[in-house]
């Protein structure tokens, strides 16, 4: 009921600003049939066009005479009797091509995945440093976490791209993934630290009393239990990461957001494209969310 009222309200609102919906323009940006032009290898005259299934056979008799040359096309652009020069286009074939929205979606997914993976590794190491007995490691971890959490991601991306990227001559993709990984790493570190500290001391004591070293205790006893406990906040962090990855469009990485912006400049279907882009983000995050929920239930077996 509420949704219905919302939909009607939206419809009236767009009516008032005289917006013309053109949803039919959207699908071509996912995938489209591209025209591939077919050229004639010789100069001469078109002697015959014979339909053959869905394509046409064009026969061209060379200027000086001799064996006619055939070119097969799906759509002929010449007529019988036309004179053609060498490398002239005589027709086109059609081919399915991936559209910019699909490409952008793919870039968003892999950038999020790679930076999430690196971020998790950074977070694990930093989280362990954060609770280490060594004051230098602990201090460095705290400085890193505070630096990242205290500055906006957008500014970090700019610094990473324009300063670090220029100094080290980094590719924009590397800079973008690096900035995202460092960003998510700082938040993950705190989540992992809290998870480790939430495991009862008795677990460590039991493991140590069996003769396990501190490292073995961490790997076999503490981390598996901590990981299970921090899965819900980690899931939230990674869903955030997918959405935050839209910010890398400012350094000209053609992710989903930037593809959307580019399409709007050519199609003028502003509302439709932004709605589609939002829907695609929602799709990706929903799939991830379900995946992590499934993982959580699997881990809950031992409860």
């Amino acid at each position: 009921m509420i949704l219905l009222v919302l939909a009607v309200g939206l419809w009236f609102a767009t009516q008032r600003i005289h917006y013309e919906w053109r949803w039919e323009r959207v699908p071509q940006y996912f995938a489209y049939r591209a025209e591939v032009s077919q050229d004639t290898p010789v100069a001469g005259r078109v002697s015959a066009i014979t339909p053959e299934g869905r394509s046409n056979r064009i026969e061209i008799t060379p200027e000086g005479g001799g064996q006619p040359v055939t070119v097969t096309v799906e759509q002929a652009q010449v007529k019988v009797g036309d004179a053609v020069a060498e490398n002239d286009t005589v027709g086109v074939n059609f081919q399915w091509r991936v559209g910019p929205l699909t490409q952008g979606l793919w870039v968003t997914i892999w950038i999020s995945f790679v930076s999430g993976f690196i971020g998790l590794a950074i977070g694990l190491v930093t989280g362990l440093c954060r609770i280490s007995k060594n004051p230098t490691l602990r201090g460095l971890a705290i400085i890193y976490i505070e630096l990242i959490r205290g500055t906006p991601l957008l500014v970090q991306i700019f610094i990473f791209y324009f300063f670090i990227g220029t100094v080290l001559n980094l590719d924009r993709i590397v800079a973008g993934v690096g900035a995202l990984a460092l960003f998510v790493g700082a938040y993950t570190a705190e989540i992992i630290r809290a998870g480790i500290q939430s495991i009862a001391k008795g677990q460590t004591e039991a493991a140590r009393s069996l003769g396990m070293s501190a490292t073995q205790t961490m790997i076999y006893i503490v981390l598996p239990q901590a990981f299970k406990r921090v899965l819900p906040p980690l899931a939230g962090q990674f869903i955030s990461l997918i959405k935050d990855s839209s910010l890398v469009s400012v350094i000209a990485i053609t992710d989903l957001t930037k593809s959307g912006r580019e399409i709007i400049t050519s199609s003028f279907a502003t509302f439709e494209i932004w709605f589609t882009v939002a829907l695609l983000y929602l799709l990706v995050t929903a799939v991830l969310s379900q995946l992590l929920f499934w993982l959580e239930r699997r881990f809950a077996r031992s409860d």
């Binding site: 039991a206 493991a207 009393s209 031992s302």
Partner: protein, 244 residues
């Protein structure tokens, strides 16, 4: 087997220093069962935890089977695998099945092959009477069953000494018996044991020596027959009057 010389452990809290273990010296011979009793806060658990280095002590010496814990070149992990410990709250690993709880340390510390570790584990689980639960998770077991698994887990390392830190205090009364039975069996088989407990019946029946601790000191150290009938210290007399 265990030799303790002038052991001191202090805790600092809110500006005052508490001597939890105050200049304790004693020894436990091979195959001996020593029961440590005393009021809460008397330092008996802390004393026991010093014996495998779980608690770092401030001064004194602990020598287990000829190895001095305080010496800097001593590998604490190597000593600990010879000293089994059973805790008040079991401390089983909740993310591992009963069988995995018993095999994990065998594999990563003793480097036993999975088949060998499994065989040893099943033998011990049968001994403590819980083999049919091998593939359950600890959360599905009762307290008494969990504690028996914990004993099997410690025994799987083939320790020379077993330390019990109030093993029955967190159990329902009806489950105390099953755990004590396992401990009695161990004692009969000649295991060297140090047991902190409030079970006077167990002390009387199984112990070779009973130590009474108060305020971090061992006040009385006698065979159970003498300790329970004719304690010398007035503090021990008062304690026994309360609990018996």
């Amino acid at each position: 087997m265990i030799e303790v010389k002038n052991l001191i452990k202090t805790f600092e809290g809110r500006g005052q220093v508490v001597r939890a273990v105050d200049d304790v010296s004693t020894q436990v011979a091979k195959g001996e069962v020593v029961v440590i009793i005393g009021p809460s806060g008397s330092g008996k658990s802390t004393f026991l935890r010093c014996l495998n280095g779980l608690e770092e002590f401030n001064d004194g010496q602990v020598i287990i089977d000829g190895i001095d814990l305080t010496e800097s070149k001593t590998n604490l992990n190597a000593v600990r695998r010879e000293v089994g410990m059973v805790f008040q709250h079991f401390n089983l690993f909740p993310h591992k099945t009963v069988l995995e709880n018993v095999t994990l340390a065998q594999r990563v510390v003793r480097q036993r092959k999975p088949a060998e570790a499994n065989e040893r584990a099943m033998k011990l689980l049968t001994k403590v009477g819980i083999a049919e639960k091998a593939n359950e998770y600890p959360s599905r077991l009762s307290g008494g069953q969990q504690q028996r698994v914990a004993i099997a887990r410690a025994l799987a390392m083939d320790p020379k000494v077993m330390l019990f830190d109030e093993p029955t205090s967190a159990l329902d009364p009806e489950m105390v018996g099953e755990v004590l039975d396992v401990m009695k069996q161990l004692a009969r088989e000649g295991m060297t044991m140090a047991v902190v407990t409030h079970e006077m019946g167990f002390a009387r029946e199984v112990a070779d020596r009973v130590m009474f601790m108060d305020a971090g000191r061992i006040l009385e150290d006698a065979p159970p027959a003498r300790f329970f009938t004719a304690p010398k210290e007035p503090r021990a007399q008062a304690f026994l009057k309360q609990v018996l």
